[in-house]
Amino acid sequence: MLSNITIGQYFPGDSVLHRMDPRAKIIATMIFIIAIFFADSLVTYSIVAAFTFGCLGLSRLPVRLVWLSIKPLWIIIVFTLAIHVFTTPGEYLFTYGWLHISREGLNLGGLMAGRLIFLIVFSSLLTYTTSPIRLTDGIERLLNPWKRFGVPAHELAMMMTIALRFIPTLLEETDRIMKAQESRGADFTTGSLLKRAKNMVPLLVPLFISAFRRADELAVAMESRCYRGGEGRTRLKELQYSQLDTYGIGAVVLVSVVLAVLRWGFGI
């Protein structure tokens, strides 16, 4: 059922991470994602893991969410692992026909898959603890300085806001149109790929027409509520940069520096 899909994986709460400014969280996440690539040994990986799980603890979200974030991407993780395990030459531990598994392959595969997992888990923490609206706000503010180079910061943010608002509505609509066409004998689930794509026409045409009609009406409604672009707009919730955010970014920078020093300074 389409209506079971939850959009915007936000879990409301009042933890330290929830309270941080979205701008700080976005910056911190970007720094840490880069830092993850510094790690290439057991020691450095342990630090990355400790920091990630430390943050998860601070967010007071249930640990099973780790699995929830990895699940949709497990194929990519397994694929990454397999590619490295099977294609890296070195000391063979196992051979079957043309398939070889080497010690080096296992190491490299584990490393790469580990990187991916930490990357996913850490960036999920950002979306889990930040409401989509605050996330959008944060992105808009961070992009603001780039406006003079032609980056449409406000427009992008407004588009994201409207998309978030209308995704559930359009999903519901898709469900309804599918049922209506199924009642007229349409078949969305069987047949070859080409046939199935063709069968989507009776679903997609009404969906597009409806989306355009909605967009049209929404534009008029926005205009009647005095919307005229980002110029001169104020916000209900102004973003507040606080001490907490300095500590947050500070902690991430510290961990990154430690990882870099360990790797290039001590060769660990």
């Binding site: 079971n4 609509e173 309804r176 049922k179 209506a180 007229r184 004998g185 078949d187 045409v205």
Partner: protein, 289 residues
């Protein structure tokens, strides 16, 4: 021939935190030739109920059979049977997609695998039934019609399946009184002339009281009342109110008059009959004086 629901229970999102039971142990038989009105406020389970009647939803427990065939499964027999039950959703004009009206109406019969001649025959017949002249409208785009006409095209698209049973979910929503009369005129005609069993889901008690010979009131996922509409207005006023359903305005007026000891027949469904009742009474009063 009938649609039978036995101990039908339906739960949305089973096994997720969003689990919600919409139907509880519903038992119901809809006989061929009936004109059934289903009423209930939003969330009463009426939409979930009707989606079981043509196999769009399958009961979590219990069975739904149409003309003796259980709707679970994908056999040819199940498919054929499902299409015996036509379904017109709310705002059906939102499902139109073809370039021409004739092509859109032909979508259903084509899916059922009929040859071209039969498809065309059905399209012509369906268009005639909803009052759209074939020669004038067949090659026009459905998207340049008025709202009421688009809705008639959409209904024709379901009639072209030649169903034994026709479910309509709020077919008059958003139409003005003229459009409403037109649509209901056609539905009554389908019932009378083609002998189609009609199941009308509506918020509007007045429409149901004028057309249906059986009323089903849904409340909290169960059938609260089932019987002749007039008798239900008469005997179960309180239950209706508890289900958040209004009795028709005329019934309300007649009830208010009856409370003032004015002898009116509170079962009237047409204003003119009620006027005649009151006129007779006033004449009597006048003579008595």
């Amino acid at each position: 021939m009938s649609i039978q629901l036995e101990h039908v229970t339906y739960t949305y999102g089973q096994g997720t935190p969003f689990e919600k039971t919409a139907l509880y142990d519903v038992n119901l038989t809809i006989h061929e030739g009936e004109f059934v009105g289903i009423i209930g406020h939003t969330g009463s389970g009426k939409s979930t109920l009707v989606q079981h009647l043509n196999g769009l939803l399958h009961p979590t427990s219990g069975t739904v059979t149409v003309n003796g065939v259980d709707l679970v499964g994908k056999t040819e027999e199940v498919k054929q049977t499902r299409h015996k039950v036509g379904m017109v959703f709310q705002y059906p004009e939102h499902q139109l997609f073809e370039e021409t009206i004739a092509k859109d109406i032909a979508f259903g019969p084509k899916n059922l695998g009929f040859d071209e001649a039969e498809v065309e025959r059905r399209v012509r017949e369906a268009m005639q039934f909803v009052g759209l002249d074939y020669d004038t409208y067949a090659e026009r785009s459905p998207f340049h019609l008025s709202g009421g006409q688009m809705r008639r095209v959409a209904i024709a698209g379901v009639i072209a399946l030649d169903p034994d049973y026709l479910i309509l979910d709020e077919p008059s929503a958003g139409l003005d009184p003229f459009g409403r009369e037109e649509i209901f005129g056609e539905i009554v005609k389908l019932h009378k002339e083609k002998g189609i069993t009609v199941i009308l889901v509506s918020h509007n008690m007045e429409d149901i009281s004028r057309m249906a010979n059986r009323l089903i009131v849904m409340h909290q996922g169960q059938v609260l009342l089932d019987g002749n509409p007039i008798e239900i207005f008469h005997n179960d006023r309180e239950k209706l109110q508890s289900a958040g359903v209004d009795v028709p305005p005329l019934s309300q007026t007649l009830q208010a008059l009856a409370e003032r000891n004015i002898p009116v027949n509170i079962d009237r469904v047409h204003v003119n009959e009620a006027v005649a009742d009151i006129y007779d009474y006033l004449k009597e009063v006048h003579h008595a004086k």
